[in-house]
Amino acid sequence: MPVDEALLESIRTSIGIEISHSIGPITALMIRRYARAIGETNPLYYDTEYARSRGHADIVAPPNLVTAVSRWDEGPAEQDLREDGVPKEVQLEGLPTSGVRVMGGGEDMEFHVPITAGTTIVERSTMISAELLEGRKGQFIVVSYRHEFIDEAGKKLLTSTRKVLLR
C-alpha cells in the first residue's frame, strides 16, 4: 500500500473518534516485573511497606509502564501477526497499514498522579491529527493520538500524546 494522499484520507476518517476500553487492574506482579525488566531497584516499585511509608496505597508503577504495554488483551493468534510480528489488525486501531512500515515518532506523557498496584484503569484513545510529509526517503505520514488513562472514578492518572510514523 503506497503512503500517499489516498491513505492519508482513509486515516483521517478516524480523527476525533474516541475508543475506550478497560485495561483492568494494574497488579503488583506486573509492576515488579516491569521494574525488573528496566533494571530499576527503587523499593517504591517492589516493597509495599516502603511505598506505604511514602504515602502510597501500595507499590507504584514506574511512570511510563502503562504507555509501554503494547496491548492489554491476549493479542491475536500467531498466524494473525504480520511478517514483522506486528498484529495485522491493530497497531493503528484498524487502519489499513498492510505493507507500510510503522514506527514510533515520540511521546509526550503527563503523569498526573502515581499509579499504584490494584488500580483499575480505563484507556481512552483518540486520533487527533494525521499529516502527509515529504522526507528524504519519500513521503511519510505522521499520525498523532491522545491516550488518557483514568481510574474507575474517572480521575485522570496519565495523559499521553503519541506520534506514529508510516513509511
Partner: protein, 152 residues
C-alpha cells in the same frame, strides 16, 4: 544480582538547584536478555526486538532497543535524581537513532528552567539526552518537568 533495596536517598530542594546544574549521569548497557524481558512484559510482538535474522532483513545489525525502554532509561534518570520527595510531572521523548544490545547508553540531563509555584513546590524543567558511548550518537532526546519541594 542487585538487591531491590539499593535506592540512593538524596532529595534536592527547589531552592537549592540552579539553571545549568547537571544531573548525575546514568549508564545502561542493554542486553538481549533485557530486550527479551521488556518485550515479554509489555506483550510486544514486534520481531525487530527479538529476532536478529529478521532485524537484518530490515537493514539493522541486530535487534533494536524498544523505544519505550529508551524512555524508561530517561524516566529513571529523573526519578533517581529527584528522590522520594519529587514528582515527575511530564516527559516528552523522541527516539532519534536505534541502539542494539551491547551499546552503552549514557543518560544525562541539565536544568533548563525553574518555575516557582504557589504553595510549597516548584517545577524544574530539564533537557535530557541519551547518548551512545561508542560514537557519541544521540539516540534519544527529551524534556522533562519535575516538581520538587521548596523545603526538605
Amino acid at each position: 544480582m542487585k538487591s531491590p533495596i539499593s535506592f540512593t536517598h538524596h532529595a534536592p530542594r527547589f531552592d537549592a538547584v540552579r539553571i545549568g546544574d547537571r544531573l548525575p549521569e546514568i549508564r545502561h548497557t542493554p542486553t538481549r536478555m533485557q530486550l527479551f524481558r521488556y518485550s515479554a512484559v509489555t506483550w510486544n510482538t514486534h520481531r525487530i526486538h527479538f529476532d536478529p535474522d529478521y532485524a537484518v532483513v530490515e537493514g539493522y545489525p541486530d535487534v533494536l532497543v524498544q523505544s519505550h525502554l529508551h524512555g524508561a532509561f530517561l524516566v529513571g534518570l529523573c526519578t533517581e535524581w529527584m528522590g522520594a520527595g519529587g514528582h515527575l510531572a511530564r516527559l516528552a521523548v523522541t527516539v532519534r537513532r536505534y541502539a542494539v544490545p551491547g551499546d552503552t547508553l549514557i543518560c544525562s540531563g541539565v536544568i533548563a528552567g525553574l518555575e516557582r509555584l504557589d504553595g510549597d513546590k516548584g517545577v524544574v524543567h530539564l533537557d535530557l539526552r541519551e547518548t551512545r558511548e561508542s560514537d557519541d550518537a544521540v539516540c534519544a532526546v527529551a524534556t522533562a518537568s519535575v516538581a520538587l519541594p521548596l523545603q526538605s
